[in-house]
C-alpha cells in the first residue's frame, strides 16, 4: 500500500510541488494531501487541483502522469521513497537528506542540489548541473548517491564535497568542475575540461578524455578501491563489464591551479 498521485493534465507553466515528499504526506489524510500547497507559475494552488490522490499514511509515494513540468519533487525528504513513472523537471530531490527517489523517465536540470544523503536514481537522462552547487554556493552535494543510467549534460558534480555520482552514459563539459571531494564515475565519455579547478576527489571515465594542461599524468595502475565502486554500481543495475573492474587506469593528478590533490582515472585500453 502506498500513496498514489496522478497528474490529471500536463501543466503549461511549471508546477512547484515541494510538498510531494514522504515526510510531508506520511501523517496526512487523503484530504490533507489534496490541500497541500503548490506553486503554479506565480500563483499558489492546492495539490488536489492538479493531482488525483489515492491512499494515505504511507512513506512511499507513486507519482504518475506527465510530470515533466513539475519541479522540486522529493525536495527536503529525509526518509521513505518517491517513485515517479515518467519524466520530471528541475530540482529533483533538492536538499534531501535520506530516502530514495526513482525516476523511470528523464530528469531536468539540477538533480539533487544541496543533497546530503539518500539516493536518487534516474533511469533515463538528466540535464545540466547534476549534484551541483547552486550558483553562489561554495559546495554541492555533501553526501548521498545519484545514479543516472543515461546521459547527463554539463557540470555534473560541480563543487561536490562528498558522495557518489554515477552516469551510465556520457557526461557533458566540465564534469566534476571545482570538485572538493567525492566521486564522479562516467561509464561513457566526458566532454571538455573534466575536473577543472578540482581540489580533491575522484573522476573516473571508461573512455579517454583530453585533460587540461594543469593536470599531470602520474601512472597507469590497478586501482583496487575502484572495484568497490564498480561492484556497487553493478548491484545498482549498471552494466559494468569485468574488464573495467579488473582493468588498468591512467591516473591524472590535478588541478594544479588548485590543491592538486584530485585525480582523474581514465580506463586504459
Amino acid at each position: 500500500m502506498s500513496i498514489k498521485l496522478t497528474l490529471r493534465t500536463r501543466t503549461n507553466v511549471p508546477l512547484e510541488a515541494q510538498c510531494i515528499n514522504p515526510d510531508t504526506v506520511k501523517h496526512l489524510s487523503q484530504s490533507g494531501v489534496e490541500h497541500l500547497e503548490v506553486i503554479h507559475g506565480n500563483e499558489t494552488a492546492r495539490l488536489g487541483d492538479f493531482f488525483t490522490v489515492k491512499g494515505k499514511g504511507h512513506d512511499t509515494i507513486h507519482v504518475e502522469g506527465d510530470t515533466s513540468n513539475v519541479k522540486y519533487l522529493g525536495a527536503g525528504m529525509t526518509q521513505g521513497e518517491v517513485i515517479i513513472d515518467g519524466d520530471v523537471s528541475m530540482h529533483l530531490g533538492c536538499a534531501m537528506t535520506g530516502g530514495k527517489i526513482t525516476v523511470k523517465g528523464n530528469a531536468g536540470d539540477w538533480v539533487g542540489p544541496e543533497m546530503s544523503g539518500g539516493q536518487i536514481v534516474v533511469k533515463g537522462n538528466a540535464g545540466h548541473m547534476v549534484g551541483s552547487a547552486y550558483r553562489g554556493q561554495p559546495t554541492g552535494i555533501l553526501g548521498g548517491e545519484i545514479f543516472v543510467h543515461g546521459n547527463v549534460k554539463n557540470e555534473a558534480g560541480n563543487s561536490m564535497r562528498r558522495g557518489l555520482i554515477a552516469v551510465g552514459g556520457n557526461a557533458g563539459d566540465f564534469t566534476g568542475v571545482n570538485l572538493l571531494a567525492g566521486s564522479v564515475i562516467v561509464c561513457g565519455e566526458m566532454g571538455a575540461r573534466a575536473g577543472a579547478g578540482m581540489k580533491r576527489g575522484t573522476i573516473v571515465s571508461f573512455s579517454d578524455a583530453e585533460m587540461l594542461p594543469t593536470f599531470e599524468y602520474a601512472c597507469t595502475y590497478h586501482p583496487v578501491f575502484l572495484r568497490f565502486y564498480l561492484k556497487h554500481l553493478r548491484d545498482q543495475g549498471f552494466d559494468i563489464d569485468d574488464r573495467y573492474i579488473n582493468g588498468r587506469y591512467d591516473r591524472w593528478s590535478g588541478d594544479s591551479i588548485e590543491l592538486n590533490r584530485g585525480e582523474v582515472l581514465l580506463f586504459n585500453r
Partner: protein
C-alpha cells in the same frame, strides 16, 4: 564414556572470554593473500607471550570477497577489546600492507568497532585518501606499486579462547597422527581457529612457576618423562605422549562443535585417552564438559 576403544575422561576444558576480529586479506593471487595471512598470523600462538592469538580461518572464493579477488580469512583474538586496535594495526601494517597486491578488509559486521585503517592511514604521510562506498569507509594509502586499501575500522565481538583437548597415546607417532587428524577436522568448523603450529601443542603449560616473574611453566603433570617423580602425574601406564589442541572460536557453540569433531577423529586415529585442561573452573567463564559435548 568411550568412543570405541578410546576413553573420554569425565572432565572439562576451561576457556576464557576474549575479543575476536576477522580480517579478510585479498590479493591478485591466492598465493599473495596466503603469504600475507601466514606472515600476519606468525608468532600469534598464545596471549601469554604473543599478546594475541591468530590463525588462518579459511580461503574465500573471489566472488565472496569484498573486492572480487581471491581471499584468505584470518581470525585474531585478544584478551581485551582495548588491545585489539593495536594488534591489528601492528600486524596489518607490518605483514599485509607490506605484501604485494594485497588489500585488507573487516570480516565482522558489528557496531562494535576498533580503528585500523584510520590509524594506518598516517603511513600515507598526508597523501592518503579516504573513500566511502555505501556504509564502507576505506583508506587508500599510496605504496610503491600503487595503493594499499584497508577498511577504516574493524568489527569486534566477544569470543571464546582456550578450548582444548588433551590427546593421549601409546607412543609419539601414533599420538601425533591422531592429534593432527583431529586438528585438521576441527579447523573445518567455521568461526574457529587453532593458533598453534598445525594446531597441535606439545608444551602445554600450567599457571605460574617456581621462578619469580614467570606466569606460566611446563605442565609437569602431563610430561611422561616426569612420571616417576612428578607429584601429581596425570600419565597413566601405557601412555608415552600427550598433545594438546587449543581451539579458539567466535562463539561457544562452534568451539564445542570443533571439540566434538576433534574427539571423534582422534579416537578413530588411535588415541588411547582424551582429556581436557582446566584450572578448577574458577578462572574461565566457559566450561566445555567432554561427555556433555559428545552426548549433545
Amino acid at each position: 564414556m568411550k568412543i570405541k576403544k578410546t576413553e573420554i575422561v569425565d572432565t572439562f576444558a576451561e576457556a576464557f572470554e576474549m575479543w575476536g576480529s576477522r580480517v579478510i586479506i585479498t590479493a591478485d593471487t591466492l598465493g599473495w593473500a596466503r603469504a600475507a595471512a601466514q606472515s600476519m598470523t606468525g608468532f600469534a600462538t598464545s596471549v601469554i607471550r604473543c599478546k594475541c592469538e591468530a590463525a588462518v580461518e579459511c580461503e574465500i572464493a573471489r566472488e565472496d570477497t569484498p573486492d572480487g579477488r581471491p581471499g584468505i580469512s584470518v581470525l585474531l583474538f585478544t584478551m581485551a577489546k582495548d588491545n585489539m586496535s593495536a594488534r591489528l594495526v601492528d600486524r596489518i601494517g607490518q605483514c599485509v600492507m607490506t605484501c604485494p597486491t594485497t588489500a585488507c578488509y573487516n570480516g565482522i559486521p558489528s557496531e562494535d568497532t576498533v580503528p585500523v585503517g584510520g590509524r594506518l592511514r598516517y603511513f600515507g604521510d598526508g597523501y592518503q585518501i579516504s573513500k566511502k562506498v555505501g556504509d564502507r569507509k576505506l583508506w587508500r594509502i599510496p605504496v610503491m606499486e600503487g595503493e594499499f586499501v584497508v577498511d577504516d575500522s574493524f568489527g569486534v565481538q566477544p569470543a571464546v579462547g582456550g578450548g582444548n583437548l588433551l590427546i593421549y597415546g601409546p607412543n609419539r607417532s601414533t599420538t601425533l597422527r591422531a592429534s593432527l587428524a583431529a586438528a585438521d577436522a576441527m579447523k573445518e568448523i567455521s568461526g574457529v581457529f587453532l593458533p598453534f603450529p598445525q594446531g597441535v601443542v606439545r608444551s602445554g603449560s600450567k599457571v605460574g612457576s617456581k621462578y619469580k616473574g614467570l606466569i606460566a611453566s611446563t605442565n609437569d603433570e602431563y610430561c611422561p618423562t616426569l612420571r616417576g617423580f612428578a607429584p601429581k602425574t596425570q600419565i597413566p601406564d601405557g601412555i608415552e605422549a600427550v598433545y594438546e589442541i587449543v581451539v579458539d572460536g567466535l562463539d561457544e557453540e562452534s568451539v564445542a562443535e570443533a571439540m566434538k569433531r576433534g574427539m571423534h577423529t582422534a579416537a578413530e586415529k588411535g588415541a588411547t585417552l582424551i582429556s581436557a585442561g582446566n584450572y578448577g573452573g574458577d578462572l574461565g567463564k566457559y566450561h566445555f564438559h567432554l561427555n556433555k559435548i559428545l552426548e549433545g
